[in-house]
């Protein structure tokens, strides 16, 4: 009899204890350039912890505006350091939670093999009608692309051929679908397992633009969620070289 009671109590205790380790849902805003890695990271993270990630992709500038207007994201994986820093200053992110999770590379890419040479000389000449970049106001990769064009002294010649995507994701889509022959995209977008998915590319020397350090930050809605902190911890331990990033 007593044994039965104990068993029932044990079962009840088990039921009550379960929520403590219950799987949680984490809402993550992710800069478009990190679209491929975050899919893999999410799969690993969900398997390891039982938590679930809700991923939103977009430009960093767009997320900044959305978060300021009350978007309920727990974590932001930005494409720059500036936006997380600003969010922290604005009291919208948890102080001290910021860290650089990746450093990206900018590439000039075409889906046509042999169109882009190893020095990017294709930009100086003709032979193309459209050059896609991300909106420099919203996307750090777009700002970096604009800086490169400026530094090469090609601002005036290239201006009429520029096609602006909303994010680096849209810029990539413009080139991948062939609507634009060339585009400045993130190396991570055209790399799978360390190899170019196709076409031709010029890895833009990092001296031509400010480094693309990308910071992650814990946002206010995620402050009390262990799952959100667990995701940031997980992110610190992931190797990103094969995705086209340095740490």
């Amino acid at each position: 009899m007593v044994f039965r009671w104990m068993a029932t109590l044990g079962l009840l205790a088990g039921l009550i204890a379960t929520p403590a380790v219950r799987a949680d849902v984490v809402k993550v805003a992710v800069a478009s350039n990190f679209a491929a890695p975050i899919q893999r990271i999410a799969a690993d993270f969900e398997q390891a912890t039982g938590h679930k990630l809700l991923i939103s992709l977009g430009s960093t500038g767009k997320f900044h505006a959305q978060i300021r207007n009350g978007a309920p994201f727990d974590v932001l994986l930005a494409a720059d350091q500036e936006t997380p820093r600003k969010l922290e200053a604005e009291g919208l992110a948890v102080p001290g939670s910021r860290f650089t999770y990746a450093t990206g590379r900018l590439v000039l890419w075409s889906r046509d093999a042999g169109r882009v040479d190893a020095e990017g000389r294709v930009l100086q000449g003709g032979g193309f009608e459209r050059l896609a970049i991300a909106d420099p106001r919203l996307a750090p990769y777009g700002a970096a692309a604009a800086a490169v064009i400026d530094k090469l002294g090609l601002k005036d010649t290239l201006a009429p051929r520029l096609v602006q995507g909303d994010s680096i994701g849209q810029a990539h889509q413009f080139v991948a679908s062939g609507h634009a022959e060339l585009g400045f995209v993130a190396l991570a977008q055209v790399l799978v397992d360390g190899r170019l998915t196709g076409g031709s590319a010029w890895r833009v020397p990092e001296a031509l633009h400010a480094p693309l350090h990308q910071d992650a930050v814990l946002l206010r809605p995620g402050a009390d969620r262990p799952a959100a902190r667990a995701l940031l911890d997980h992110l610190r331990s992931v190797r990103l070289e094969s995705f086209g990033y340095a740490r």
């Binding site: 896609a132 106001r137 919203l138 096609v163 909303d166 062939g178």
Partner: protein, 228 residues
């Protein structure tokens, strides 16, 4: 409240796009509406449904298929390249094609209603007076349907100005070529330049209100016969 050169450029481009779209639509929609209102062919229901499609489809659907069709792998894209015109996506022409398609029902429906309310009688009378069908159309049917034509032009103009989703997909945000007021507002909001967004948005509200007010006045003057 500030308006800079980029905003003015977007406004001018939007007005140009809307004016050209409604002009093309007037020429295209009038014969189509006549055929839908008077014709006896079997395909009328299907064509009517087809013309109305852009009214219910998300603009992204239109934008998506335009991207596919006008792209280098699409039939239209291959044709335009073959003709040496390059690709139409991210160009004013591409945007114009999209606008005409998106606003088609707004032009066809008022004209069709006007022709339908005319009935067959005036054309039959004209025929007994030995007017050839084309002559009767231009001197009897068209003047009678004047209010419908006007409504069509105004509505397609207003709708083109308000188009957003399709432009965002096929536009590419090029100043003076594809960057219209609606996408400019979107960009301002995304970049947190709310003052600039506000100026343009308020202008759109005023303009749209003015257009609808004008239509309502016209309708009252005609005893409710001018249906959009």
């Amino acid at each position: 409240m500030t308006v800079d050169a980029a905003d003015v450029e977007a406004i001018v481009l939007t007005l140009k796009l809307a004016a050209l779209s409604s002009l093309i639509l007037l020429l295209l929609a009038t014969p189509l509406a006549w055929w839908l209102a008077q014709g006896r062919s079997r395909g009328r229901a299907a064509v009517s449904a087809l013309v109305t499609l852009p009214l219910v489809l998300p603009p992204t659907v239109l934008g998506f298929y335009l991207l596919v069709l006008l792209g280098p792998d699409g039939p239209v894209g291959q044709l335009t390249r073959h003709m040496g015109w390059g690709l139409l996506s991210f160009s004013f022409t591409g945007l114009l094609i999209g606008s005409v398609l998106a606003s088609l029902p707004f032009a066809v429906q008022p004209i069709q209603h006007a022709f339908e309310s005319l009935g067959r009688r005036p054309m039959e009378v004209a025929a007994t007076l030995r007017a050839r069908p084309l002559d009767a159309f231009f001197s009897v049917a068209l003047p009678q349907a004047r209010a419908g034509l006007l409504t069509a032009v105004i509505l397609s103009f207003a709708h083109t100005i308000g188009e957003f989703g399709m432009v965002l997909m096929v536009g590419g945000n090029i100043p003076g070529e594809t960057r219209v007021v609606s996408t400019q507002i979107y960009g301002h909001v995304e970049a947190l330049e709310l003052g600039r967004a506000h100026t343009l948005a308020a202008g759109m509200v005023l303009l749209s209100f003015g257009v609808l007010l004008m239509l309502a006045r016209m309708r009252r003057g005609r005893g409710g016969r001018v249906a959009p």
